[in-house]
């Protein structure tokens, strides 16, 4: 082991996790590639769990960021006004919101995903005067107590050390064999159900951590309709599925819905530096000044790179390229499932947020492990790590995408041959 790994093993908390799956020391990264201390090159099909949709260290963003730093542009501004922030807000309105006919105020709640989720939940409760939030099976929204309360994973929930309250879990799309919304509506309309009309529902259109579950568009539309009927706010947590991951900037565009509140983070800054925003329908923006705050809510480096990243969305070519490549991915995964019946696999997801769920215990992890040995970084997801999850950068060239898919196929082939050893 390297000296650097030794230091981490000795001094970093045992809570560390990815370093266990990818046991090497990374030094450098560019676009869809990473290199470790030994000089070994990796294809990155992980993208920082969705925080690097544009790949690593994009040259245009890098230049803007370095220029800004060299000019001593203000780095940390809390919620004072800075040009970097004003520019980001303006461009986000122009390039993203207006063309999509979305009218949102922008709140900077602190630079992480869990911070935007917490701000959304607080605001929904404040606006409605109700306390409950409906969340969904398989949902993942963050590790602070508010977000954790709406997160499904039982190991993570137990980490809270206290009962998690003020939430009700309902079944996500396809959770059982019949329409889960029949059930949800019955609970809402029945005065004797024990389930109160909630402040909000919080939904991921595609669940990442939950195992790459993609809700059908009609299910999402129905959710929106139910929310409207009962005066429930609809929060879309687009922290992982947003910023192009499913093929459009927002993951909910294709479903034709307009959430009341949208949570964005991860790839928002474009460069992998921390940034989050909470989008709020103007009529719901009833905060008192400073009622929610956070020291790093004005991270100007992130504003600079985030503004540069929006260039990708100025015309339709980027979406088009994602679409084309996602068809390659999908076809390739379908082929794997059909060629390797031992995998007992099912292709899940949409866009660049896809994976294969295997019914064979431990097999998905084995595939990911073999990929890593062959120079491809890919993680698993789902409550029992039953899914291997492809998250390549959206900007990956076709040939390297295909190279990566080939490594995955090989890894599947090798894995199904051996008895699984966990």
């Amino acid at each position: 082991m390297s000296k650097h790994i030794d230091i981490i093993n000795k001094y970093e908390s045992v809570v560390r996790s990815y370093v266990r799956n990818f046991p090497t020391v990374f030094t450098k990264a560019k676009k869809h590639k990473m290199w470790d201390e030994s000089g070994k090159e990796y294809l990155d099909f992980f993208s920082g769990a969705g925080a690097l949709n544009y790949g690593h260290n994009d040259d245009k963003m890098k230049q803007k960021l370095v220029d800004y730093i060299m000019e001593d542009g203000i780095t940390h501004s809390l919620d004072m006004a800075s040009i970097a922030k004003a520019d980001f807000i303006e461009k986000f309105q122009e390039v993203i919101l207006k063309p999509r006919e979305l009218d949102y105020k922008m709140m900077f709640p602190g630079p992480t995903g869990t911070n935007t989720v917490e701000s959304a939940l607080k605001l929904a409760r404040k606006v409605t005067g109700r306390t409950d939030i409906i969340s969904f099976t398989g949902g993942f929204h963050g590790m602070t107590i508010g977000s954790l309360s709406v997160t499904g994973n039982s190991m993570k929930r137990q980490g809270a050390g206290i009962p998690l309250q003020n939430t009700v879990t309902m079944a996500y799309d396809n959770y059982v064999d019949h329409d889960t919304l029949v059930y949800l509506e019955r609970f809402l309309e029945d005065n004797g159900s024990g389930v109160a009309i909630p402040a909000a529902m919080i939904v991921e259109t595609v669940q990442g951590e939950g195992g790459i579950n993609a809700a059908r568009f009609e299910w999402l539309k129905k959710i929106e309709e139910i929310c409207r009927r009962w005066g429930i706010l609809l929060i879309i947590d687009d922290v992982q599925a947003g910023v192009g991951r499913t093929g459009t900037f927002f993951s909910f565009e294709a479903a034709g819905i307009k959430p009341d509140i949208v949570c964005l983070s991860k790839s928002l800054s474009g460069y992998g530096v921390p940034l989050a925003v909470t989008l709020i329908k103007p009529e719901l923006d009833i905060w008192k000044p400073g009622e929610h705050n956070g020291t790093f809510r004005g991270n100007n480096h992130a504003f600079v790179t985030a503004t540069a990243a929006l260039d990708y969305w100025e015309d339709e070519s980027f979406e088009q390229s994602i679409h084309e490549k996602s068809e390659i991915i999908y076809a390739s995964l379908q082929k794997i499932v059909s060629d390797y019946p031992e995998l007992k696999g099912e292709v899940r997801g949409r866009g660049f947020m896809v994976g294969i769920a295997s019914e064979v215990e431990g097999l998905a992890s084995k595939v990911a492990e073999k990929c890593f040995a062959k120079g491809l970084i890919m993680e698993t997801a789902g409550p029992n790590d039953e899914v291997f999850k492809l998250f390549p950068p959206l900007t990956i060239p076709k040939e390297d995408l295909e190279k990566g898919l080939a490594i995955i196929e090989e890894s599947v082939r090798d894995s199904v041959k051996d008895p699984v050893t966990n």
Copy 2:
């Protein structure tokens, strides 16, 4: 108003707050100075609410950061291993922990203050199997539900929209005229008090948001002793008071205590970019892998600057200079209080974390406002904004420190003349 302010007023959520007190657009910053769009120069006695203890855009850190970016060093790594992270861990152990005979594991819980607090509370509950946390009047720990539960401010608490649970508030030092710990101990030792032995106490040694209240060292020692006696974990939230703000790296050093868990963020990265760490006594580090996580827990830009920032602590000269300048500040504030009895002022705090509390309603805000007009940035604190709060960078040269103190004196003089108009 400038175009940039217009954009912010139009599109940013009404939750924005500092832009209301400092209504201008900042463009550039260096050391202890900031400039706005019009070219006006400001002395910064605010330091990003304690996130910029080394001043803005420190040249050495800047160079390291730009070099790292130019070399395509890995930016975002979650908790995979990177050299930047290993280097930071190693140097933090060598320069900070070992010389102070502190033995802590380091957890990266997400890059914000509230994230480190949430991780500390979760771990304390997990370790002890108890649910309650004792927090203190005037405490401020963050805006996510877990941290907000231990925060005192009623306006912020109401923002939660739900009852905040599993916490008990006890009186901070000097909250009433007698020893507040008599009360606390009575509650703990009495089986009929209704207060259970908690998992932990969470304490700031000097409360910033709460109104610059500095606990006496003997009070802190007694807190530690009580915690030991009852098997309660002691969490020091050093997010604002740490990293030199009170004159030593950790604010608790002078009190001679050794907390079980320490929360650091704000100035930790040195450069104003997001970073947080939770320090944990090794025997308490019982997390399961991934039991707490966060997308930006591996912010390598911050590791790079944070490592560079530790150079300040390699010998005692930095502490010495803080100490000398803090005496100038303290003497100057004492003189203001005594020269302007109309202020009904009281000097509070220690080190570079000081302020004047005024009994006259609205007066502290008026002073801060006049300072701003005269080119000095300073905020107010306390539940009724009754304190104006001096947070200059620790690196400020004496002459500019004195220049700033003169502006404050002038502003006090001007303010006490007029009837306060709020």
Copy 3:
């Protein structure tokens, strides 16, 4: 109005409710009949909401009670030993538990239904170390905070004034068109469902307040099996359905299940005086002495009448007679539903716990109102009062039962003729 009603209207809290539906002053009662101030006689198809299964003022019990009082038998004994209590315990074991091969310890938790439910929930949490309880849609368990948390009715829940916590509501049998237990099991087996394995499930085999919903025996068996599989305690709340109401002493006998904890109250004392008992499998009886208590847990008047009431259960003739009469009731209700299609009625329940649910808004209440005018007391149930609910004493003679059924039929006939006026 009478003077007595005036007093009540003037001084009793507006929370009073049955007096609004039955606006007269009752003076005397015997078996299945009641009389009011004016001497008007009523058939009682209400039985104190199930607290008077043996009718009013049963002569045998009355004699025993008066004898006991005349001899200055101890009235109030908390949980000191009294002969009246020992006699009750012994006879309950001999006549009820042993013949049914049920082995339970008996806890006297205070003399009301909500008290036995609270004790059951506390014990289940204590035994398992878990916090959540699964309750069911339409469930009713009492008005104190613990019991209210597992009660479905939204009006009653809102009366709590605080969020009700540590519970999860699942769908009762027939809540939707498919098997509700598929759903429940999916939540339990999925580590990502957000629903933790609970301490217990609390179930009524027939829901009274919830609208006379009778669970199928196979559903109850499956519930028991799920509980066993996951180490979840099964609590049957038999406060309303127990003591013969469904045709057997315990309502769960016919389903062939053996709950871990059983809650009994209402008709337990036989005479309408307050008594409750919590039956606990011996291995779960891990209370500390006095860990749950209550001033009236030793109500000896109730022990005396309760012991006398057990005479009804010494052979099978009582069960047999309930069974025969319940067939008359059932047939009669079926005929009403089929003869009056305008009622849009559905017969619900089993044994002497039956009713007709009408889809026509307000119609059930109208029928009950007309019955009252004709001298029959009957209440409505269900979240929207959509069910009229027949609860005659189990001891009612056939001819008076048929007289009552005739009044109901007339009232239905009259009600469906008029447009409903609410």
Copy 4:
């Protein structure tokens, strides 16, 4: 052991408690005396923990009760109107409330102490729209989750199995050496205290279970004043201290305060049968019909005896006699404390609600045990059972009172001689 004890030991839950301290089987009781199976006579200085203030089986009440039963008066009426209930309401208004210039609506929340407390807490939250309740160290209010949340005893609280929420404990009078209300007020007036303005404070004027702590009248007056100033409702829990126990009908009369809500139970029925009432200022009586209910809220046997019991209060002679006898008790206890310094005793309480707290661990229990052997029933109280507690019936004749006091003195004398053996 007798057969009856065998039955109880075999079949009653281990939660049973008084039977452990008073290990005999009681058969008969009259006034201030009880007899066991063996014919042994006991002086009752326990009075059913305050439920038998008029002694056992009072002849006048007994006659009324038997007459009522013999006439087949309605026994169980929920909240339908009965003459027994109207008579009680009317007489309570005439004899108790009007002469004391108290204007209250009467709510029958179920027949136990915990039920009236739960109803009071619910109503206070409903009226104010706030969630928190301030309770006090040493408070005891009942065993259901709502009441338990405001109860201080840690063993009982842990019995809940869940964190108890929505309450804040403040220090009762004399909890520490200085005025505890300074502390309370500081928490209320400080916006940064972490303690929100509560819906209500719930107070016992003399704490029974908590260890016979009597608040000073000026402390109670100040509590009332603070409640008024902040719009907080004042709930007096007079379940144990009420109905004459302290010398007046309500325990708060002497303090000159008028609570918003009063909880009564225990001795209210006079005869030891279950009854409770919640007294509510008319303007606060905003319940919806049936929003709180309970099967035994109309226990007519109790109405009959409770009405008869009110005869004691028709003139001042009863109060006068309590007063005279309480002076005997007090003098006797003072003498014991001064004659037996080994007891390290302190006399506590007022009226007929008094005891001696001993600093010697286990000594109070020893005294109670010796008393029992000598034919006097007396219990201990306080979080560590450090107080022996005299609760004779208010009706006890002087000579038997003195006989009892002599037994206590003897028991103290015997106890201080031996080393305590627990």
